[in-house]
Symmetry: C2
Subunit: 325 residues, 2 copies
């Protein structure tokens, strides 16, 4: 029975790609009709890049470092700091065992952040990333509000409601986002630089090796060095994806990862918008523009917890049963 379940999960992964997702991310020119967007992409849980859908936003030509400094000045913003660009990631803990670590969160003047990010003056062992995800574009970057839409009208019409959160992301190629999934429909607009996505549909859960890792966080001691701390509370754990598409050791340690269709890879450039469907595993790298920044604005829309979600839970439960057997 184990073999039959394993085979059925592998076939699911293949069938989702054959029937629905295919092997490349569609590129569609211009803003879509809301119904067509919903039918062809949201309902099917299929990603798509829309070119020329946000290219009229003023931010795309306005947001030089000079402009951003002039508008934002010393306004406080939240930044995530790690020694190596890997926050919310599996790293080696102080005891030598893998742990899930969250970044150090700091509130700093925007000007200091941008200087640290883009100049050569940054401290060694400190990678800052403006990636606060609680609606930061609206709450922390008010002076920039006129430069981009705070909702995407055709998406709001398609989903039947406005976005739950709109976040601004400013970083560079040192920051890498490890595989994870969000319980949101995501529209991801790149303003400067490029975002490089590696994607797996939710049905690939059987080969992502989601495991429980002890939870830790980066803390800063007086000497300013970041260190990993498990905290004083009883150790808690976080379920997180074990595979890393950039780690050459992944295939040996997690052999199922390679047994199935290759991941979907896509590059989203300045002026382009990615529809990243709910529950997709995504790993993200970035390439800065000539001013040293990658900037993006993403829109989280509530997802439907419907029949697709119920079916996903079946695949997840079977994966758990196989892993326990």
């Amino acid at each position: 029975m184990e073999a039959a379940v394993q085979d059925a999960l592998c076939e699911l992964s293949q069938e989702v790609r054959d029937l629905s997702v295919a092997f490349e991310v569609d590129r569609v020119h211009g803003a879509p009709d809301p119904l067509v967007f919903y039918r062809n992409y949201v309902s099917r849980n299929v990603p798509c890049i829309f070119t020329n859908a946000i290219s009229h936003w003023p931010c795309i030509r306005r947001w030089t470092n000079e402009y951003l400094l002039e508008k934002m000045g010393d306004q406080l913003v939240t930044i995530d700091v790690t020694p190596d660009g890997r926050g919310d990631a599996i790293v080696s803990g102080p005891d030598g065992k893998p742990c899930f670590v969250t970044p150090l969160e700091e509130r700093v003047p925007f000007s200091s952040f941008l200087e640290e990010l883009c100049s050569e003056k940054g401290e060694a062992g400190r990678v800052p990333y403006a990636s606060h995800q609680n609606g930061s574009f609206v709450t922390e970057y008010g002076p920039l509000a006129d430069d981009a839409d705070v909702e995407i009208s055709w998406a709001t019409k398609a989903f039947g409601h406005g976005p739950d959160a709109v976040n601004l992301w400013i970083g560079d190629d040192r920051a890498v986002t490890s595989f994870h999934k969000d319980h949101y429909e995501n529209l991801y607009a790149v303003i400067a630089g490029e975002k490089h996505f590696t994607l797996h549909p939710p049905a690939d859960v059987y080969r992502m090796y989601v495991r429980d890792y002890p939870k830790a966080s980066y803390v800063r001691d007086e000497d300013t060095t970041l260190r990993i701390d498990y905290g004083d509370d009883l150790p808690s754990t976080v379920p997180w994806v074990s595979v890393d598409p950039d780690d050459p050791g992944t295939s040996d340690r997690f052999p199922l990862y390679d047994q199935g269709p290759p991941p979907l890879r896509c590059v989203v450039k300045a002026g382009e918008l990615l529809y990243l469907p709910s529950m997709y595993y995504h790993h993200v790298k970035q390439k800065p523009d000539e001013q040293g920044r990658t900037i993006a604005i993403n829109f989280w829309y509530d997802m439907e917890f419907d029949v697709k979600y119920a079916y996903y839970k079946l695949a997840e439960k079977l994966t758990g049963a196989l892993s326990a057997s």
Copy 2:
């Protein structure tokens, strides 16, 4: 592992109902907006009855027997004949074993069919049902074409294409349709009488006991008696649902059938339109109007074979593996 798989399938059935389908069929007044219809019902694979969406069709008040006879006269139509109203059903074969039997197909003048259906003169052991499903409304009932729409504009807009077939159904309470599913999105308009549907979402596959049955058909010998015939070819089989919601023996013979949420039951009355989602198991009974007929027009729209279908196949494969283990 068997137990884990069985539990996961049972939980899927419950979760689909809790998250998406619920326990009663929605009733919505008036024709829906195409996007709202797609998002709330098609994408979620959830049935709905639309009241006042087709009530303006002339057929609903025009189609008395007198009018139908005047328009159709002796035009030949295809009817399905069985001894007991059960065509495309599991019955006891001549060897005493269960078989899947298809009805005898006859081409008869419409006037003869209607007389046989509605008068007391019908032969004993002969139940006629106009249920030819290859676009009969258009191909065989041309004189009635002005009395109903041959497409439903908001549905065509939602699905992105017109219907693949539009069929007319004329029968009475003797004809019962056994549980089966179609690979189509189905819009089912009742013109006269009532249709009584018993529904299970596709995720209930694990408790429908789909088994292979020898294929047979009703044939007519010279003495006009219908008998079951396996044909001259090598016996072939048809996979068909074993459970029958009207058979008190079903619970004993197919114990999983009762282990899960109860079926969705709904009555669709004259002037109402049921959206029957693709792949739903449906069992249909009917109640005639005062002139002795139940009349319906159904629209089959091509379904999307997408991620939901791929997930359904997973549940189907696991059901097969459990049944073989």
